[in-house]
Amino acid sequence: MATIAPTSETKCLLKLVVNDCEVSAAGPPAQRLSRALRDQLGLTGTKVGCDAGDCGACTVLLDGEPVCACLVAVGQVENRAITTIEGLKSRPPLFDRLQRAFLRHGAAQCGACTPGMLVSATALLERNSSPSETDVMDALGGVLCRCTGYRKIITAVLDAAVPNPRTSSAETSCLGVGASVGQRVVRLDGKGKVEGTEIYGADEIPVETLALRVIRCPYHRARFRFGELKPFVAAHPGVEAVLTSKDVPGEDCYGVIPSFADQPVFALEEGEARFRGEAIAAIVGQPEAIENLDPAIFPVSWEELPALTTIDEAVAPGAPLIHHNRAGNVLTGGRVVRGDVEEALAEADAVVTGEFETGFVEHACIEPEAGFARRVGDQIEIQACTQSPYMDRADIAKVLGIPAEKVRVIPTAVGGGFGTKLDLSVQPFLALAAWRLRRPVRMVYSRIESMMCTTKRHPARMRCRAGATKDGKLVALDFTADFNTGAYSSWGPTVAARVPVHASGPYLVPHYRAVTRAIHTNIVPAGAFRGFGVPQMAIAQEQLYDDLAIRLGIDPLEFRILNALGNHTPTVTGQIMGEGVGIRTCFEALRGKWNAARTEAVEFNAKTKGPIRRGVGVAGMWYGCGNTSLPNPSTVRVGLKHNGRIALHQGAVDIGQGSNTVVTQICADGLRAPVDCFDLISADTSITPDCGKTSASRQTFVTGKAAYMAGRELRRSILGLANSAHEDAVIRFGESILTIHEDDKQHKLSLQNLPLDKHGYVLTAEQTFDPPTSPLDENGQGIPYAVYGFGAHMAEIAVDIELGTVRVLKVVAAHDVGRAINPTLIEGQIEGGVAQGLGMALMEEFFPGKGENLHDYLIPSVGDVPPVESILIEDPSSIGPFGAKGIGEQAVIPTAPAILNAIHHATGVRMRRIPATPDRIREAILASISSDKTGATRG
């Protein structure tokens, strides 16, 4: 841990009592306690998520009471007792019970909120040993979590309140050989998360590092001129350099899809800055100097230019082009056509139309982007939070103008990703500065900076028409959508391509036309966010189908069951899967609960006089795993070590979803070895083969399959070495000795004296899996994905019709996951997906330039997420490992439309502008009341 050596003049030592130890903190007494704990005392278990008391990640105990360390000045707590996550271990047995309960229930996913949750829960349980669920929610209400949906956290705290909790066999580890798939194996990387020792992007600081601050455009669009930069550096002690586009040695153009790459590291002075938050320069210097520098004094003059902020402005005739080579400000489009949609709609017995619009959604990972870079000879190393180390490597190499092999990307633990950490954030600035200055350089985005300049979910404007026969058979869907993709391409092309493939929903739609466009505007780039546009699309399509069912007088669930895709019905791209299409089973699993809940809601509304109206809604979902019609291989290497342990090199970044655990379980069963024989070697471009990016719900499916194949191959090699040809031979992994049992014989294989291969292992197996797809033709026909995941959610809600507020009472989520490799982790994905879907439906909208913080931008708190009942359907796809399909994005898609359909059921209003905030719902209710009245007077 490096800190600035204070000069005698600045030195101001304060005595603190932290975790029962007397310590001294140097620096201004007005600095935040969180900063002193992390940067000076090295207690990085205390996370910083917002510096504003909005997220609670930095919660510590001050004389036993929870407080946000970001809101306390060091000078205020001299000689008072401060307890951080690191200090709680001295409080057994309570904290021990809490940690174990968090692990057992899967209450920690990415782990960024976990210290704050554990500290808050400790304070609660020390005061109240038998809390109610409401007590727990009140105690945790100040800590935001973006991954779990909170329910497993609540369960864990309630469980920990009881001494001697149950211990499951999975927790005590050592599962049977070849039997870990399907088990609730406790997250293998969980211990560091509940101890606060996990290393995230901001948690390691190289010795004598410099710090970097980016100067960003304050306008949606502006021209700018730098003042005198050299004198600026000279005039500011501690500032070492200013970097601009002129300092970029390679090609100043990056982007996640190489053929669309268009984003410069820094906007060009000869050109213009294209969005509020775009980088124009970076100041590098001593950390203290950079931290205290007021960016307003940077020598630059701005000329604000008229900006295109909406789709309408951007596509208006004569609108200025944001990129000169993209006519009409259209980045690209997507199209899937099948049958004759116009004729089918003309002949349909019932046709419904709808227009729907969604807003920007912010990922709001609890961990803001952070990392450092250092130059090692002619190589650059970047340690940062990322979902896509190999793609980062390629872009950094391009920017620096060096070969990819000279770039090493070391992902830290990721405190929430959801798609936004697929794009570069801090990496190009750090790499450039460390490369040029030959010094380590570090930076941590503030929450404001993170919200201002990292990608968002695309706002969508969707128009659709659907037709069905009078007996309820869907015959046609016509779907068009424009997505506001912002100033640079990011994942806009992926959204434009993926949505037309999915816009039918998981139903047989014989006549189909889906056309999309990604439109450039002068707004922060919209990129990847859990579902690549499909969640927005499902809001339109699933509400439209509800209207169609209602028009036909058919129960909305039965309508979906009637039209559900089957194993032998073609999708809208003409793909016939032949197996593993579990959507009908998902809907049918809801039927009993649906009928009961609908009846209950109707009865409640009939007998209740007050403003509360209950409603129940349903929505279905399908989602292709992996890249759309593009290769996306994963390579996994396993090695047998001299000591009899297995080294698993897998480059899939675990962003909290659990790939470290799931991939190991799969590999273990391929090898038929217990999970605890494995040593995990996490993603690092220099030591793990490429497992692609953590996105598109592909890691369990693609990397899992490669891990299975590699495990199988290692098993064959071991048996070959032991001269055993027996398929069912049992290998026991002892210390430096393997024992092979076949039939009633057994023989031992001593590893100690065997030669090592080039990887340093006795035996190495490496396997690559790339899911088979085919390109789509000009009408979008082909095989875009080898495997789809399916699911259906049912939401029960209560609407206060006078205030327009919605409370979600319960969600039942049925998902066809092919094979549930780890049910606890799958439930975690589902519950977290439900929470994000709920946020998208009811509260989340980012307004560029307004509310770049977590108190204006709201994500669900612990009190907003209802109990979620997960129903896991296993309709295997033989291509996936043990039949498994993805779940990460699938989980978020059906929640919002199910809630919106429930609002319609409760109130009769159809929400077309999302999120359905209280004011929008109330406005829609008032409009429907007045139109009813008008209708009545007309007779």
């Binding site: 000078g75 009140d138 001593q286 509260m843 209280p918």
Partner: protein
Amino acid sequence: MYLRPTLYKPCRLYQNYAQPQFAALFYVFRICGQGVFLYFRPETLDEAVHVLAHSGGQILAGGTDFFPALGDRSVTGSVVDISGLRELRGVVTEPQYVKIGGLTTWTEVINTPLPQCFDGLKAAAREIGSVQIQNRATVAGNLCNASPAADSVPPLLTLDAEIELASQAGTRRLPLGDFIVGNRKTVRQPGEILSQVLVPRTVENAASVFLKLGARRYLVISIAMVAAVIQKDSTDRVADARVSVGSCSAVARRLPTLEQMLIGVPAGPGLGSLVTTDHLHNLSPIGDVRATAAYRRDAALRLVQRALDECVGSS
């Protein structure tokens, strides 16, 4: 000269402030590129106002508004940390007033046994941020920050609260309604500290409620909020009514026409239904990221109706 400096190099700057009668802690620190600043940590109100009179630093108490206001900048300038003034903490009941020390935290307000008319204030206290915030945020801070959405202002207005400002010149007292004069604007002078809130003991056994409307359950800034106090007479009619609405104007407002109208009305079921849009005429809601102005006006009406019904136990 009696000083307990934790600072090392006495610097000329602080000699000026070092008065023999004070035992205040001083720290001097340099912020790279910004200059030399002072951090004062007085232990008595006298010290604090003295320091303020001479240095004019930024006041730091609970820190829950101080730090967020910095955005991603670090603290610059001198700071007067008044969180060590024990005399400004706690609630005392005197014959005329319940006096709440300015530095009393919201958790302390919640945990202090108080008469029924404080139920609304306590309900508001539970809605201020989160437990973490309530453990640090002070009563004075919520008032001095003067956010239109400050949760404590509507209930304190319905309690006819007064505030006391202390400065080197002495103290002055004024009604809360005269203290907050605009969006984040008060009449507090730079040398003044809000030392206490005084609630006259006139309606102690009156029913009081606080209703907050936000777009999520916890940690939420109000879209609108309503506080109400209803005192019944011996015939179960309204003897005294106080209703205020927050987040619907630059400063939370009492509703005097409504309060007048309610006097003498039976304090039972249907009380809320007497409220009409006209009673809310002095509100001036704006539209922002949380809600439209029209919605605020509409929701405020519903909340006022519900608050009154709740006060008379008919909801």
